[in-house]
């Protein structure tokens, strides 16, 4: 445990790495505050740049983007009332009214402090919980690993999107994409349909860039989105915002509400650790809970301090929570950590329960990169706020072509293959159609990354002992499978119940 920290400190506290993290944080903040540019997009586009770095530097850069992105949405949420990313939807409820009262500076500073302090809280949860979980995970055989992946995918499918069946379909689609190419055990080429392009498989990152970046860009080109963008820009010009931020004074404001801060951070960390659920759910749940616990809930929504604290603490603490299953089990909690894991794989490091034992310097590096990134976020947000604001002025007409080019560069750099670019476009279109019909993309992406791991473990289990009932008789494996069934049953029951209530209330009217 202690050498994990020592190694981590030694890896991260070098000038080069510190600067890399700083750049990552700034990129993340910019990505977070531009509406329509998501954190997941920023992180997939950063990845190709990190190929030339050593693993710790690459992963640190990405964690910087992650932390920065989670806090960047705050700026647009507070000043324009538009969430820069889905993770800051609840921030608009209170930060925007406060800023309209002429207290923009206060709203922003409270948000920054809440983001920072909740990151620190989730850092402590991460370092104390992740090693325990991975120690436990070391006792698991292929049966348990397979069941764990099954339960992760069903949970992802049930927490995202509008129906569990669509979520499960998306997850299975992801698993199928991953089976194209060489079989992971015998190397037999599968489903290449005699196309040279497909013989090497469909690269995970190309799927990711296509589904997250290209599809999102296509969405922002719809006529109604473009109109929205134009209207917003006209409003912007009317406003000439001037504000002062008082770091010390607002710190006291935040510290006076320890209950809200700790409560929201804990909720955020737990939600972050659940596969598939991330900042976009956490900020709303944390806000909701804070409102329930509050002595004066009627103030929520009118620009109260607690609302901003709850929302921003809720979304930033998901970073630490998200890293728990990623580091301890090799199961990414979100698309962002899925990219993080694939970055490790590019460097030949296999994520999984053995990661902490085999690569303590990398795990320690991840921990401390997160801590350092939180400090950089605090500093750059306070010092750079005035400049960050200007970025929201970049129009869609510039943004879309530029990011499309970055997607092409990112894809090409990966394997130096032209044919990958066609896969990129195809995946973008599939992702676009999926989102149009409310199939969520997270299960598909996590299916792609977990597919090969699931298959290898399933077949290893079959080789070790042909008795397939072992999946149900080994206790841990059974618990996971029961959880998977429960998560499906619970979601189906819940949808049924809300539909029933809806019908009932419609009938009464």
């Amino acid at each position: 445990m202690s050498d994990l920290f020592l190694l981590g400190i030694a890896e991260v506290f070098q000038l080069r790495i510190l600067i890399v993290i700083l750049i990552g944080v700034v990129v993340g903040i910019l990505a977070g505050l531009i509406p329509g540019f998501t954190v997941a997009m920023a992180i997939v586009l950063t990845l190709p740049l990190t190929f030339g770095m050593d693993p710790v530097a690459g992963v640190s850069a990405m964690i910087g983007v992650f932390v920065g992105g989670m806090s960047g949405g705050l700026i647009t949420a507070a000043l324009l009332g538009i969430p820069g990313t889905p993770s800051s939807i609840a921030t608009t409820f209170d930060a925007y009214p406060m800023s309209q009262k002429g207290e923009s500076g206060k709203a922003l500073s409270i948000g920054i402090w809440a983001s920072f302090l909740s990151s620190i809280i989730s850092f402590f949860l991460l370092v104390s919980i992740a090693p325990q979980i991975s120690r436990f995970a070391l006792m698991m055989g292929p049966w348990e690993m397979f069941s764990l992946i099954v339960v992760s995918l069903t949970i992802i499918a049930s927490v995202t999107g509008d129906s569990i069946i669509k979520g499960l379909i998306a997850g299975l689609f992801g698993l199928l994409i991953a089976t194209v190419g060489a079989d992971p055990i015998t190397g037999i080429s599968r489903f290449s349909f005699d196309l040279a392009t497909l013989r090497a498989g469909i690269p995970f990152l190309v799927v990711l860039i296509g589904m997250f970046a290209i599809s999102r860009l296509l969405q922002s080109l719809e006529a109604k989105e473009i109109n929205k963008d134009d209207i917003k820009r006209q409003e912007d010009k009317i406003k000439n915002l001037k504000f002062v931020m008082r770091p010390i004074k607002t710190l006291m404001v935040v510290l006076k509400k320890p209950g809200t801060l700790f409560g929201a951070s804990t909720i955020g960390s737990i939600i972050g650790a659940i596969p598939g659920a991330g900042g976009s759910i956490a900020n709303i749940v944390a806000y909701d809970q804070a409102k329930k616990w509050s002595k004066n809930p009627e103030k929520f929504g009118t620009g109260c301090e607690e609302g901003i604290i709850a929302s921003e603490a809720g979304n930033n603490s998901t970073v630490g929570g998200d890293l728990i299953p990623t580091v301890a089990l090799g199961i990414p909690g979100s698309a962002v950590t899925a990219v993080l894991l694939s970055a490790l794989m590019v460097h030949g490091i296999t994520p999984g329960p053995l990661l902490i034992v085999n690569e303590p310097n990398i795990v320690g590096g991840i921990f401390f990169a997160f801590l350092v990134a939180s400090f950089w976020m605090l500093i750059t947000q306070f010092l750079g706020m005035k400049y960050f604001m200007k970025v929201t002025q970049i129009p869609v007409q510039v943004l879309v072509p530029v990011i499309l080019v970055l997607c092409v560069v990112g894809t090409f750099v990966l394997n130096n293959r032209f044919t990958d670019l066609y896969i990129l476009l195809a995946m973008g279109l599939i992702g676009y159609i999926f989102t149009k019909y409310d199939f969520s993309l997270a299960p598909a992406i996590i299916g792609v990354i977990l597919g090969p791991i699931a298959e290898v473990n399933l077949r290893r289990a079959a080789m070790a002992d042909p008795d397939w009932t072992l999946f149900f008789t080994r206790p841990i494996s059974l618990v996971f499978l029961i959880l998977a069934v429960l998560s499906i049953v619970y979601t189906v029951w819940q949808t049924y119940r809300t539909n029933y209530r809806l019908k009932k209330s419609m009938g009464e009217k």
Binding site: L176, F191, E222, P395, Q397, V398, P401, V409, L429, P466
Partner: protein
Amino acid sequence: MGEIIIGLALIALGLIIYVQGGDLPSLNEAFFNAGSFPRLIAGLLILLSLILILSKVLELRKRKPVEDKVSNKEKMGSFYREYRLVILTTVVFFVYIFLLQFIGFVVSTILFIIGAAILIGYRKRKEVMTISAVAVILTLTIYFFFENVLYVRFPSGIFI
């Protein structure tokens, strides 16, 4: 309606994988050869897609048929207005990645950025000037950064 089409497409995909998976050579595994896992997934996908289609069909039936006052032509028109840019940008993007290998990274990228921006609505003189500057600076920065720092060879066709 869209869901039903997606469901049918996924069933078709599942069937292809299922049939192809059966033809894959098997080594001496007792079970679970190269084709088994994909077949398992494909089977589940077909099953779930069927459930999705059935539930959507039931939903459509329950809903009382609304008299369609809007003609098909008008529907197409409003669809086109909403998605015009999505379709056109996809086409331009496809042309860009197709031409990339023939006329080289730098030239095609600069042309693509300017072309796409004009297409999306950056048409005033000042705006075209801005985007041209952005295109040239960005493309050259990417080109030199990747060629000299990360040693990635970009495609060079007849131009650079």
